[in-house]
């Protein structure tokens, strides 16, 4: 069993510093810089793989993943609304966060799989992008209903042209067009530095997660439970889907990670504009304060073990 990954230790360092009220802060510009590098790097990696295989073959997978993106928030909503007793807007907003994905969690998973030499379908970033969007639309409909007033045009603009999607999709296209040889010249910045940059990112994420704790205390146990149970359920669905799509064990575990992760960039921004009556603190507390740490520290390994067991049972 290989030793604990240093990038996880960076997350713990940030978490510790935050909880101890250390003076440590990362300038917003540094955070934006490293997250930009991660988004572009992940997009590029996926794009390079797309360049290697016929696009058509991926269509079924893509459709299935989009379908999952529509389903997950629909499963989360009733739980939040009737068990959690949240307002309709809050339930819808939180559901949207959990139906979508966290790029940071995906990055940690890739690092985890790499150290253990677990292979997975390299075009995963494409599925990542696809999974980011449907939940947002579902969330808005859940909050607003299908009224005429909803300005879908401006919502689509808001969603598809948000920072995260543009960088991820842009990187994907660049990698696709330029191909493996083309991008070799930018490899040192985007790929060689990847894990170091991820370490800095996780240091900041630790600080941010720590900042959510006080709010968590206020909103109590349900949010904590939901932030752990929901990802596990989504992960199981992800594994099932991965198996049905004939993905490798690693691929299924990765799809489980995506399903089990909760958004904290694209969705909060979209919800703040489109569902303003939802309290952003609730969803960010769950997503950043509970689910992200859970996935990074224990979730990813669990999902992989679950995928292995499932494949033994179902016969992969």
């Amino acid at each position: 069993m290989s030793a604990i990954d240093p990038i996880i230790l960076f997350f713990l360092l940030g978490l510790f510093a935050g909880l101890m009220r250390s003076a440590l802060r990362l300038p917003a510009a540094v955070y934006e810089f490293v997250s930009m590098l991660l988004l572009l790097a992940i997009g590029l990696k996926g794009g390079i793989e797309l360049a290697k295989q016929p696009f058509a073959m991926l269509l079924p997978q893509m459709l299935a993943v989009v379908a999952m993106g529509f389903t997950l928030p629909l499963l989360a909503f009733p739980v939040l609304r009737y068990v959690g007793r949240f307002t309709r807007a809050d339930a819808a907003s939180i559901a949207a966060h959990y139906g979508s994905v966290s790029v940071g969690t995906y990055a940690v998973a890739t690092a985890y799989f790499a150290t253990r030499e677990i292979t997975f379908e390299e075009h995963m970033p494409l599925l990542l992008v696809l999974l980011e969007i449907p939940a947002i639309l579902v969330g808005i409909v859940l909050a607003r209903g299908l009224t005429r007033e909803t300005h879908w045009a401006s919502i689509a603009h808001e969603v598809f042209l948000g920072k995260g999607i543009v960088l991820l999709l842009g990187g994907l296209l660049i990698g696709w067009v330029a191909g493996p040889n083309g991008v070799s010249s930018i490899t040192p910045l985007f790929f060689d530095l990847f894990k170091g940059v991820l370490a800095i990112f996780l240091l900041e994420m630790g600080l941010i997660a720590a900042a959510q704790v006080s709010a968590l205390r206020r909103y109590g146990l349900f949010l904590l439970a939901f932030g752990i149970v929901m990802p596990l359920c989504s992960a199981v669905i992800g594994i099932g889907l991965g198996w049905a799509l004939g993905l490798s064990v690693g691929g299924a575990a990765m799809l489980a990670t995506l399903a089990g992760s909760a958004s904290y960039i694209a969705v909060p921004a979209a919800m703040r504009i489109s569902v303003p009556e939802a309290n952003p603190t609730l969803s960010l507390t769950a997503s950043l304060g509970v689910t992200f740490p859970f996935n990074v520290l224990v979730g990813i390994p669990i999902y992989y073990v679950l995928a292995e067991k499932a494949y033994v049972l179902l016969g992969g």
Binding site: R25, I208, A269, R272, E277, L284
Partner: protein, 103 residues
């Protein structure tokens, strides 16, 4: 103040969430302001600490110099449109401007 009234205008200050900067300035212009100035800020209020540590937790500090009528139109609109759902405060003071025709 001693100056002739035609040099007096209102300085309207709005402190709110960075997330709505673009929509807000659009509204402000449509309501007749000839300009605005924005600075990034952090702070605390009834909706808790907004320390700009995380993307969605930043504040902006908007200043608008305009005549009384415009100032009241803006405050009325923002109050109706944003107060309920967004961290926001507004306050107004009298200012003496040069080139009053600008505002």
């Amino acid at each position: 103040m001693t100056e002739t009234n035609n040099h007096l205008r209102k300085l309207l200050t709005i402190i709110t969430e960075a997330a709505i900067e673009s929509v807000l300035v659009r509204d402000i212009e449509q309501l007749g302001a000839h300009g605005y100035t924005v600075t990034d800020a952090r702070g605390k209020g009834s909706r808790g600490v907004r320390n700009a540590g995380w993307e969605t937790s930043g504040n902006i500090h908007i200043e608008v110099v305009c005549d009384k009528g415009t100032a009241e139109a803006i405050t009325k609109h923002l109050q109706a449109r944003y107060y309920a759902n967004y961290a926001m405060i507004m306050f107004m003071t009298d200012v003496e401007v040069l080139r009053p025709e600008k505002f």
